[in-house]
Symmetry: C2
Subunit: 348 residues, 2 copies
């Protein structure tokens, strides 16, 4: 397996190992769909695509229309190498999210109706939003952790509408949504007027620029789905941290395996602890994303060897909750680097 | 709140903040039981005990027999400070574990019977074992992550009998259990003979000493419930890491809030990433421990201001899954320091 891993490393510049090759093969035993193979293998998408092309050349798999199928040779070789079919025991009630949203049923139903008219995800801002169930599960999870009631909360980028959902609960003291996309601000602004959500504030901010002074050190909690390049992660998460009041404040951050190898996960974790925070939770697959309309323009689509369309949910991310300790670092510099693209990005 | 936090910091030497005082008060709204207050506040036990004594002096709470009750003054002050009653939305099917164990029903039932005769937890080795449901949930979770079938697995300390449960599934290639406690080795050895569990190896090892050479670099996966002092964490987890073969191998580690403040969580996370691993999962409350018989001899009991006995499960820990990358560090030195006690330890 290591020989394939090293070829993929060379071709993609993404640090994957023999174990990642096993992961992809393991899912190939149970799925022939490119997007599901990416999801369940938990391996960076360009590496999965590169590996599949390699395995096809080696005769381990073949393409049947849009299907990616293990050949008899592939099965034999995989079994010889000790690879077992992928198995899944995820809870069928909470979908692996650890919490249920029953207590927020009314807010959920209201949110479900309201979000029907939401602005569609834009490629330009690398948008892609989570399912309404995910949005409410975030609210429930955060409320269980004491991060909602009476809190001052900021959403850095809100195509997920978690800021709106929080305001609809009526529980926080203040919810500030900042976004670069005027459509989202207008959409939430209209609902704010209709529903009288006085606690909700909407502001147009470009996260590549330093945050306005009046947002620094003012919040108990932030939510963000960062760009997953390292500079992008900084732009979103470091600025999120800069908005927090002091020790014991929390950030909720989504990080994928689709665009972030475990080596980059480690870099991100290093950033977090070095900034003076602890990671309190990492729940894989917590965030499930609705398929977005611009997928045919993505690098991910051009990398997909069989050019299939995604059918079910395939893009998921882990929920990270991070918490400030004493002496955490506030960072608010302008960003010169490209926050949108690196070797692993494929859906931007 | 910060004034109370700083007094507790001074008295206990444990870094807690205003937010932790809020957490304890928040649970006091819904529970009068010392052990449940510790569990749900997720604050280090000696700090909780110290804070409760302080709040009692201030007239915020009073003791009624074994009950710790918020007074009218306490309620008023807490509400004024913006504290809300603790709320819980944990999934009622998987209990927040993310996975269900239905697929392992037969192994679970066999395990349930066999463990009836297990050796009782000993104070001397700081033992305390998880519920059978937890043991099987670990097996299911690890199997979903590809860490069971065909794998070579080591359990560093096995009072939880996870090594035995893994062997009972018949799925791993090899399971090595090392423990200092001859009773556990004898217990598992007897079952090994009865059931013909040839893959299971039992060896007496003191983790304070360097591991035998023939265990280094030989395993795909390790399991351990470390001592939670920093030297104790090293003794268990660093040695676990030293047993792993190469990149893409995994460790399963339980870490509590009972004995480990978030500041120490951060230190532990720093160790992990600096050793060249990534943290792939942190699932709080995954591990639920059966109450052990020696609790009246624990520091935790003497700290408990109302000297109540624990009734329900109260001692829980987060499941950490960590994974090796390239160039991770193998460390196998002897340990001079006290691995069992620091300012936060209370159940050792």
């Amino acid at each position: 397996m290591e020989i394939y891993a090293s070829q993929v490393r060379k071709e993609t510049n993404i640090p994957i190992f023999a174990r990642d090759v096993e992961r992809v093969l393991s899912v190939l035993f149970v799925s022939d769909d490119f997007w599901q193979i990416v999801r369940y293998s938990m391996v960076s998408l360009p590496a999965v695509a590169s590996l599949i092309k390699l395995l096809e050349k080696e005769g381990w798999i073949k393409y049947e229309g849009e299907k990616i199928v293990l050949t008899e040779k592939g099965k034999r070789e995989a079994e010889l190498a000790g690879v077992h079919p992928y198995r899944r025991y995820i809870c069928d009630r909470c979908n692996g999210k650890t919490v249920v949203i029953d207590a927020f049923k009314e807010v959920y139903e209201e949110f479900l109706k309201l979000q029907g008219n939401r602005p569609e995800a834009l490629h330009r801002y690398d948008q892609g939003y989570v399912t309404p169930e995910t949005t409410l599960a975030r609210v429930a999870f955060a409320d269980m952790r004491g991060d909602v009631r009476g809190r001052e909360i900021i959403a850095l980028g809100d195509d997920d509408l978690v800021g709106l959902a929080l305001a609809l609960t009526g529980l926080p003291k203040r919810v500030v949504v900042i976004d670069i996309d005027k459509r989202i601000l207008d959409f939430e602004s209209k609902i704010k007027e209709e529903k009288g959500l006085d606690m909700l504030e909407l502001r147009r901010v470009d996260l590549r620029e330093p945050l306005p002074e009046d947002l620094l050190g003012k919040f108990d909690v932030f939510f963000t789905d960062p760009e997953e390049t390292l500079p992008g992660f900084k732009a979103f998460v470091y600025r999120g941290i800069a908005t927090l009041k002091g020790p014991g404040c929390a950030g909720y951050v989504g990080i994928t395996h689709v665009e972030t190898s475990l080596s980059k996960w480690r870099e991100i974790q290093k950033f977090i602890v070095e900034a003076g925070l602890a990671i309190t939770d990492i729940i894989n697959e917590f965030n499930e994303y609705v398929n977005w309309p611009y997928y045919r323009d993505m690098r991910a689509y051009s990398l997909n060897p069989v050019k299939s369309d995604p059918k079910d949910i395939w893009y998921v991310s882990a929920l990270y909750r991070i918490e400030t300790l004493d002496n955490f670092q506030r960072w608010n510099e302008p960003l010169a680097e490209d926050i949108y693209e690196d070797d692993e990005s494929s859906t931007t």
